[in-house]
Symmetry: none
Subunit: 215 residues, 4 copies
DNA sequence: TATGAATGAGTGTTCATTCAT
DNA sequence: GATGAATGAACACTCATTCAT
């Protein structure tokens, strides 16, 4: 009966498993055998259901990006205050990046490769995310709440710091293991906590100084 | 006679060429044939001179990181003012990332892979970079110049934003070509200019508000 | 009700479609998917109805050979004059080869493969065809109408020339397209017309010279 | 020293071995592993020296055709009498087909496939063979030695009969083994002897009747 | 009877590495 | 020291066949 639900579930499981493998090994490092094994299906089934390695990667990539874009857009829908919108943006992005373990590595590799495998649709999706932030910043500037800042650079700071922090995790832990004497707890907050830090820093950076009126 | 100089020169040329290829294709995507061709040497010569693919990659990676660490340490040597030190840090990092085209993609991929190929020596090198920033921030905080901030997160914001911005370039240009109607010049500043923006934003974020007359 | 008629019809359609595919691609070049698609049935249905690829090929091959053998035997039944029998033989063979497009390629490939897939029954069938010609020639020789010739070689000449000519068609047309300046209309007669030419040549070759008695 | 001679020898050995395998199995039936094993080289070496399966097949095909064309042209160079030229043509073709075991199956399969893999150069080569015969026939007709015949059909008869006879061999032997009671020695002459038979038959078919005292 | 889905066993091709010179 | 040639071990992908429904 629920053939559709069932099979889209199968495909979804394949994509979920593939996302993990691709995030760990990258496109070229991932083996199709491994992708199939991780998904618990026969290699030929993978080809039958989705197509070749590239098609699988495209599907994974699009899915990751679309999910983040959707979450952010949805979260911002009900918030109108500019500062809260910024906080919401950073919070959702951080939560997504923290929870969906594979998102950050996949995105970093994709950027590193010059977006070689980035389908146009995915770029559009990313544009939605950027647009949400840019619009909010613009609005805040017009309302005199924010200083005039380069919105794109603010975007880079939020996305770059949180993606890097999240993907960094294995290196940080390895480092802590090798150099336990210099263990710094601030290196081991969750990505969500990191999001709050970043949110605070970004707002401190962009908020107009109220004291300007103090004479 | 100057055999040594000559061959170290050759080795340097090989590493430089290999860095470009690795940055474009990643470790798994790069082909040894291609690496040899790019370096203008026979494949077997490459093995004779440097060793296998992994050894070549390690050499490239260490070289990239060491160069950045050296440049930053050197630049900070003569600066003592905390704010100027922050500016110098960001500026040097941005200049390096902007000029050495292959640095950002290589670092992003390395982080994405969980530092799988990061030799301990390289991690130490990165620690030096982080240490330089952390110390400066700590000092500024103690001097009442900076608010108490999470130094590691500030580091992530600087490094993340600039690395991402630099590596982003091909995607930004592709996007501009496909959607010329929404061309935004702020997406196309140089990495050095981006560094200044980031420097300003970071300082705005961390500087203590002098007028807050804490009584 | 007419289940049998219907399914034998279906099987016949499958065999007809498969013959075309096999003639174009050969046994190893044909894909079961393609054979099923060409027949308009599901792949699993094909297995259910006929069996595996080899069984399908056997069925196709036997059918092709049997048809030719039947046609020739039937045509010769009512002809007793030796010369006319030779003409009938060539004519029927040419007509069959010309009309049943897939016959020639299938036979050529089968011969080329050393008859690897030729079932004994099919060989017997071919023996009937050869026998019909051989008997006629023998009879003609005994009647002083034909010179004593190697019957098998005459058979090769008839079958070889017409099969080759028919299967040749795509090459001839391609050649004509690439070298239109040397277009020779004698390369583009129908296989039936070719049969008449071959019939004339063969008879000229084997007929006893009546003038031997002149002197 | 004789690097060239040596390596062209290696390639030649590969081509010779591949010709045998392709003639037995056809393009699709031949396995690259098998081709390499037959040539006594590693599979990767085969790719290094020649290229992929298709390139190998092209090389084999061109070589086979060129050899026959060369032999025939060379043999006809010194013969001017029309009848002798016809005999020479048939004899050389038969000898080639008989000695070079793989030639006939390869050609039959190629024709069967519609010349799908026949490079233009090979078609030209075949044109030379056909041209040699056609010119001789035309000349003989003009000299009143031959009846006006369809030269292309004569060509088909010669080439078709001998190719078929040669490729037929396994089937004939198998048949003889299964039906020893009807063993006919005329089925087991050499291809060269078959060539003489065909030569006689063809000449008998095309020679003008001298006694027809055309007044 | 019919079929979408699944799969074990290949299949052509590539690759990092080594060797002979 | 340098290089054309060689190769074992993968690798992405396909195919004939079967299975569950």
């Amino acid at each position: 009966m629920n053939q559709t639900a069932e099979s889209s579930n199968t495909i979804d499981e394949i994509l979920e498993a593939a996302a993990v493998v691709f995030s760990e090994k990258g496109f070229d490092g991932a083996r199709v055998d491994e992708l199939a094994r991780a998904a618990g299906v026969n290699k030929a089934t993978l080809y039958y259901q989705i197509g070749d390695k590239e098609a699988l990667y495209h599907a994974v990539l699009t899915r990751v990006i679309k999910r983040t874009a959707n979450d952010i857009e949805q979260a911002l829908e009900t918030v109108s205050d500019c500062e809260l919108r910024i906080r919401a943006f950073v919070e959702i992005f951080a939560r997504n990046t923290g929870n969906v373990r594979y998102a950050a590595p996949i995105m970093l590799r994709e950027v590193a490769s010059g977006g070689r495998n980035l389908p146009e649709s995915a770029v559009q999706e990313m544009g939605r995310v950027l647009g949400a932030l840019t619009d909010t910043l613009q609005q805040g500037i017009e309302q005199g709440l924010f200083r005039p800042v380069n919105a794109f650079m603010v975007h880079m700071m939020i996305v770059g710091s949180l993606t890097l922090y999240s993907a960094n995790e294995p290196i940080r832990h390895r480092n802590a293991k090798h150099n336990p004497e210099i263990h710094d707890p601030s290196h081991f907050i969750t990505t969500e906590e990191a999001g709050r830090e970043v949110g605070n820093l970004i707002l401190a950076a962009i908020k107009a100084q109220p004291q300007e009126t103090q004479s």
